[in-house]
């Protein structure tokens, strides 16, 4: 079993099904977790953590080449760790003691320094036979009360030094009044300065003596530190690797709770991409010398899947450049197994729209460099680095099309257009993009309907009928813009077709309801109040009208693509105007260029953010809402690399 677990760990791409949720598990045939082994791994991890902390080990986490075999590797780990601890412990104890001694001496020096102004002779103090004396710090506000509270005994409070809120005091009284003095000092929140007995000489002499001891102590501490560094060099890689192994072994052991077990036979069930199944089967059969049964079952053959009780997990499997956008898709929802996985469409449209709205060669280059930096240096945010680089490239491409470098439009010629000069054309183009994206949304929705066999929505506003109506209206609009007003025949045809489509949209729900009721009549008595046909018709009319308005609004919404491109250009104009005003005052010196640089930074940060938000809005509301239902279950591999870390 442990070898099989190692193989599962190596393959990584297995989404385990928890056996306890199945019939077998409910009958009690779960494997459970081997708690003894888990405890041993916990102890190993604790020891590793303690060594890592003590040796101050930091550094990149090494990647595991092979998954551990939990019940075998534990022996090696325990033995190696014990050996390391034996070697290191002496050095660590010496280091701790040296550091402690150093701190103690430094603290004593600092305490004695408070008594410095009085330069007391400790030897003479120790000779006092009838007088008790103590040193300490007192909150300044408590002094009057302390003085008064001691008025009944012979005493002396000598101020050695004072600052804003505290006194350093020497308090003296007769030995017989010691209790009274101590009670009063205690209640006045007097903090005693502890002085070790047996000190000889004045305060300054004692401090001098202690200071002389410091170099030797520092040397000792330094020596221990060097020894520690040597151990760190020696053990760093092995310890970090062992930690990874122990983490992964522990995860594999915990995963055993999801296995089934009957006597000496284990049952492991899970989801995995079909392509890797043959390899997994071979590996398992080889490891178990043929003493295993490995079967694949088509999801369609699983009753619970057909009934929707068990959901098939979704494994995003996009190429490297598209993968970072999976995060944006997941933010909206996880697609169900039969739905179209929309990340690729989202990624392409995102990059395209970003370039259109933020088209500038210079700014694109800045974004690309920033993305490259994030990609190379900040491993955790690598995905964002890729997105930044892609947006940067798109921005540069559109910058070339617009002929804009850092807002300067006369360095390179515009291959396509200048957004500020050709506003109408640009707006129309944005609307075309909108028509394209919404149409794609309709097509994906129809595909989803087919794949999920949801034929009843086919004739609705979101289905084929809605799509046809939208394309009819969009076609008319495009025809009007490109070739002038349509001919009367075309208008008549459009009217008839749209009336028919609208009628279908309105009546499809009531008709379906009537048919359903007819089918169900006699079968069972429904207790729930059914909606009347008339109200259903009214609802359908409203829905159809709402859909038409929605089509229009969704399409017009894409005008913002042009609007933000214009804003981008207008902001440049603003920055240049401010820079010119600065130049009028002091010439085209540093002030002028500083203004330009600051303006560009503001545009990149502020507008870059706003543009991204707007694109996400377009993607989610105008595009995803047309076809994406979500409700899927994300694929959770047995061991994620991040989990191991």
């Amino acid at each position: 079993m442990s070898r099989v677990m190692g193989i599962l760990g190596d393959f990584k791409l297995l989404h385990l099904i928890n056996i306890s949720e199945t019939r077998l598990g409910k009958l009690g045939y779960s494997a459970g977790v081997p708690s003894d082994l888990l405890d041993r791994y916990d102890n190993v991890l604790k020891s590793i953590a303690s060594l890592v902390r003590e040796l101050e080990i930091k550094g990149p986490v090494p990647a595991l080449e092979k998954a551990p075999i939990p019940d075998k590797d534990i022996f090696y780990m325990e033995e190696t760790l014990a050996d390391m601890e034996n070697q290191v412990s002496g050095c660590l104890v010496r280091g701790r003691e040296a550091a402690k001694e150093l701190v103690k001496t430094e603290e004593l020096i600092s305490r004695l320094s408070m008594l410095g102004p009085a330069d007391i002779d400790f030897e003479r103090l120790s000779r006092l036979r009838f007088v008790y004396c103590t040193f300490g710090v007192l909150p300044a506000d408590n002094m009057p009360r302390l003085e008064e509270s001691l008025s009944d005994i012979h005493h002396s409070l000598i101020t050695i030094s004072r600052n804003r809120d505290r006194f350093v005091l020497a308090a003296f009284c007769l030995n017989e009044d010691r209790e009274v003095l101590e009670r009063a000092l205690k209640s006045a929140f007097f903090k005693e300065i502890e002085i070790p007995s047996g000190l000889k000489g004045t305060v300054s002499e004692v401090i001098e003596g202690l200071k002389e001891q410091l170099p030797a102590l520092e040397r000792k501490a330094h020596q221990a530190r060097e020894e520690k560094e040597a151990f760190r060099e020696r053990f760093q890689k092995a310890l970090l690797l062992m930690r990874e192994k122990a983490f992964m072994a522990r995860l594999l052991l915990e995963a055993q709770s999801k296995f089934g077990k009957i006597d000496h036979t284990y049952l492991v069930t899970g989801w995995l991409p079909i392509e890797i199944f043959p390899r997994l089967k071979d590996a398992i059969m080889k490891a178990t010398r043929g003493r295993a049964i490995v079967e694949s079952v088509d999801p369609e053959d699983v009753r619970e899947v057909r009934e929707g009780i068990v959901k098939i997990p979704i494994l995003f499997n996009n190429p490297l450049l598209i993968r970072p956008f999976e995060k944006l898709t997941s933010l909206y929802g996880t697609p169900s197994y039969r739905e179209v996985e929309p990340t690729v469409f989202l990624a392409l449209s995102f990059v395209l729209l970003f370039g259109m709205m933020f088209g500038d060669v210079g700014h694109g280059l800045v974004l690309f460099i920033a993305g490259l930096y994030v990609f190379r240096r900040l491993y955790r945010y690598m995905d964002y680095g890729i997105i930044l680089m892609e947006c940067g490239v798109s921005s540069m491409v559109f910058g070339v099309l617009y002929g804009s470098i850092f807002g300067v439009e006369d360095i390179i010629p515009a291959i396509w257009l200048h957004p500020m000069k050709d506003i109408n054309r640009f707006m129309m183009f944005s609307v075309y993009i909108g028509v394209g994206m919404i149409s794609l949304g309709f097509i994906l929705n129809i595909i989803n309907m087919l794949r999920t066999r949801n034929f009843q929505e086919f004739l609705s506003a979101g289905g084929v009928v809605g799509a046809l109506l939208y394309w009819l209206l969009a076609g008319l609009g495009i025809r009007y813009v490109m070739a002038g007003p349509p001919a009367p025949v075309e208008i008549m045809a459009a009217k008839v077709i749209s009336a028919v489509l609208l009628l279908v949209m309105i009546v499809e729900r009531p008709v379906r309801a009537i048919l359903r009721r007819r089918r169900e009549r006699g079968k069972s008595k429904s207790t729930r109040a059914e909606q009347g046909i008339a109200s259903m018709v009214i609802e359908s009319i409203i829905e159809a009208l709402d859909s038409i308005i929605g089509f229009l609004a969704n399409t017009v919404s894409f005008v913002r693509v042009a609007a933000f491109a214009l804003t981008h250009a207008a902001l440049f104009a603003g920055v240049f105007a401010i820079a010119d005003m600065v130049a009028q005052g002091s010439g085209r010196g540093a002030g002028y260029w500083l203004t330009l640089v600051a303006g560009n930074i503001v545009i990149i940060l502020l507008e870059g953010m706003v543009v991204s938000i707007q694109i996400i809005r377009l993607e989610y509301y105008e595009f995803f809402s047309k076809f994406f239902r979500g409700g899927g279950r994300p694929f959770q591999p047995l061991v994620k690399q991040e989990e191991v870390r």
Binding site: V137, L138, P139, D141, N142, P144, R145, L146, E148, S149, L150, S151, D152, D165, R166, V180, R183, A184, K186, S187, A188, F189, F190, K191, E192
Partner: protein
Amino acid sequence: MLRAALKYSYLNAKTRTMHARRLKPSDWHILETTKDPPAFLRYLSSTPYAPWVSRLLSARQQDHEQFERFIFAALFDDYRKIIRSIPDNDSLGLVRALAARFEAENLKIVLRALFSGLKKSQVSHLLYPLDQKLSSLPFNSLWKQDSLGDAVKFLAETVYGPMLRHALSQVDAQGRIFPLEMAIDIVCFRQINSAVHGVRSRRDRTSVVDVVNSYVDVVNICHVARIRFVYGLSAEEALNYSYSGGSLTIKGLHALARAKNLQALIKLLPLGMRLAAEGTEDIPGLRMALEDWLLRRMRRAFLGYPFHLGVQVAHLIEKEIEVRSLVRLFQAKATQYQMSQAELVPGILLKSGDSLGGEGVVQAG
């Protein structure tokens, strides 16, 4: 005068309206005669305390700890109303300093919980419900501290910080949290004292000094008596643990602390207080007598020239005494503790009418 009138006319009207909503002697009489806590609450819900009592009734937790928490919300509401309308920063500082006593109580509870290893859920019912207006201490972060030492370190930058640092060494030495609690109280009264002297307007300061000093004197006398005769600590400890402010001098407090017994202490009190406290035999009785004296003295704030901060401070202290009396009475009902009303509520609340000047006295019951 015109400036003061402009400054205080709205606040005064508001305060006097709040003041007029105190419980009447007849209310106290009925509350005392109620059969049990539910009946007590039922009657209280027909008085100006109705909003807070109804919250308590809907919370369905009518034990005396919950009652205290809910009923003190009425006092904090008055604090909030006054803070909202207070005209200047120095006056605001004083009202906030007075409210900080409740923050200090909460702080003590949190530190006690940390000291004894209790969780927030185990003591949260004891905390006063203070919001940002009345307390600026970051209690949520404070709860995350692992030990008393960490908590003191965390509070280093607050007003309590320096004193707590000093007191912490005493906690370590004595193995009890008492020094920390005393330190918090001492800081709190020090803040009140400096806030009183920070009031810039002379007329405001005079009126406030009169009210706050009387209050601090009463608190100090009871505190010294408790330390000496209940906790059995020495005179020097009683003096050092006494609070700043008030009209009693350090020497006077020391004399009180040195008194052999309660009767001797009462004989050493200033004349007015002595006359009020004569005949009392225990510390609760002494406190009741002194509160009675304090309430009579504070009535002066509502007489004569009306535009000064003394009105607000006197109202808040009087309201606090009223709320505390209600809590005592409820606790007596809840624990079926047989005690006369006069032993639980200052006499003046039972006797005087609702007139601000004390005229038109209505005899209780």
